[in-house]
Symmetry: C2
Subunit: 237 residues, 2 copies
């Protein structure tokens, strides 16, 4: 268990455009600001991934609700509606407002859709960074979601590569020697939330590095397969 971690915002990523080499932009910014080390976890905002992958759709800049028809098209299920708020299940299985479509940090005439496959997006970024720099890192693609029961949004993981999404402590012992029965910790969500604390919402900082993660946490897994609950497994849908 790592006893100390550092979270660092990488500020030098320029405005990302469709088709940009996002891994290259990340490598350049990190090299200038905080050179990557083996075992670093990079948290990358969904927004820049969507931009690089050209997941942008034209909307009427004068109509704040012009993206709402897209929401219904992107949603697999609408779980709740109240006024303009639409809580959806996406094709990936994420439950979030507006099918994850949003208009912040993009130009007024477009809305950003979620990446088609955020685990794959994370894997591509990770593979490119590892191949080009020789440094083994993990990558999490993060977005900002609301949640029931508690006010306020937090950042969670949409996709990951090179890190276990869930740390399975079942069968291990607590400090008193008692066997822990049900503790599976979603470390990728905790890491995404920690990165948000330095990235901020309004500052447009697309990447943060978390250094000091336990090396036992590195491995393979998928947010969509390992974190997203299936409809039938869920008590609140």
């Amino acid at each position: 268990m790592a006893k100390r971690m550092e979270i660092v915002a990488i500020e030098g990523i320029p405005e990302v455009k469709a088709g940009d080499d996002l891994a290259g932009l990340i490598i350049d910014a990190c090299t200038a600001e905080f050179p990557l080390e083996a075992g670093d976890v990079l948290i990358v905002s969904q927004k820049v991934v969507s931009k690089a992958e050209n997941r942008l759709v034209h909307v009427d800049p004068d109509d704040p609700l012009s993206h709402k028809p897209l929401v219904l098209a992107e949603a697999k299920r609408v779980l709740r509606r109240r006024g303009d708020l639409i809580i959806t299940e996406t094709a990936h299985g994420y439950v979030c407002a507006n099918a994850g479509i949003d208009r912040s940090n993009v130009s007024p005439d477009v809305a950003a859709l979620l990446p088609v496959d955020s685990d794959r997006s994370a894997r591509r970024i990770r593979d490119a960074i590892t191949y080009r720099t020789g440094t083994q890192v993990a990558v999490i693609v993060a977005d900002t979601f609301g949640r029931p029961w508690r006010r306020g949004v937090t950042d969670i993981a949409l996709g990951c590569a090179g890190i276990l999404p869930i740390l399975d402590l079942r069968g291990t012992a607590d400090a008193t020697g008692r066997t822990l029965h049900v503790t599976e910790v979603c470390i990728v969500d905790e890491l995404a939330g920690a990165a948000e604390l330095v990235r901020g919402k309004s500052s447009g900082v697309a990447v943060a590095i978390i250094r000091g993660v336990d090396e036992a946490w590195f491995g393979t897994g998928s947010v969509v397969e390992d974190v997203v609950r299936s409809y039938d497994d869920d008590l609140f849908r």
Copy 2:
């Protein structure tokens, strides 16, 4: 916006007993390991707060379900049941499994209830630390909760003192100058989750310090009042 944060586990807190001076134990451990500085956020596990406040109840050590009657007594509402799993709303308004009662990291013949008022618990620890050391810190009391839609648990804030639970970015501008309309970030939950990454579940590390938090985040507020959604405001109860 802070661009760099550090998360440090404080390992030297001894086993906490009912009536212990928890603030004093924290001060001593921090002084030895990582001396407190103004602006530090201390994340303290619910378990040690419950122990110090004597929120322990006797249960049959040989019956793994002997705390279940307590769950029904502590719960204000039972929201869902499936087998042994009981999803409850507590008197405070938290929604969690088993009314927050658990048996990990306590001796086999007791179960730990949640603190009566975790915001007050956080305030007491904060006031004692500030009074005795002259160092202004913020305190979050954290616990581990599951959530719907996503597998795995994460740490969230039960109570806080000296820090805004929710950072209200409504009306501020994003990186493109567009006004952010709905972004209220629950920073205390993100801080609690970040602390869990170094505290771990099984290691019994009760306290972590997060250093580097933006000083604009310090202020007053309550998790129960500001974060917990009321029953009527919630779309998923």
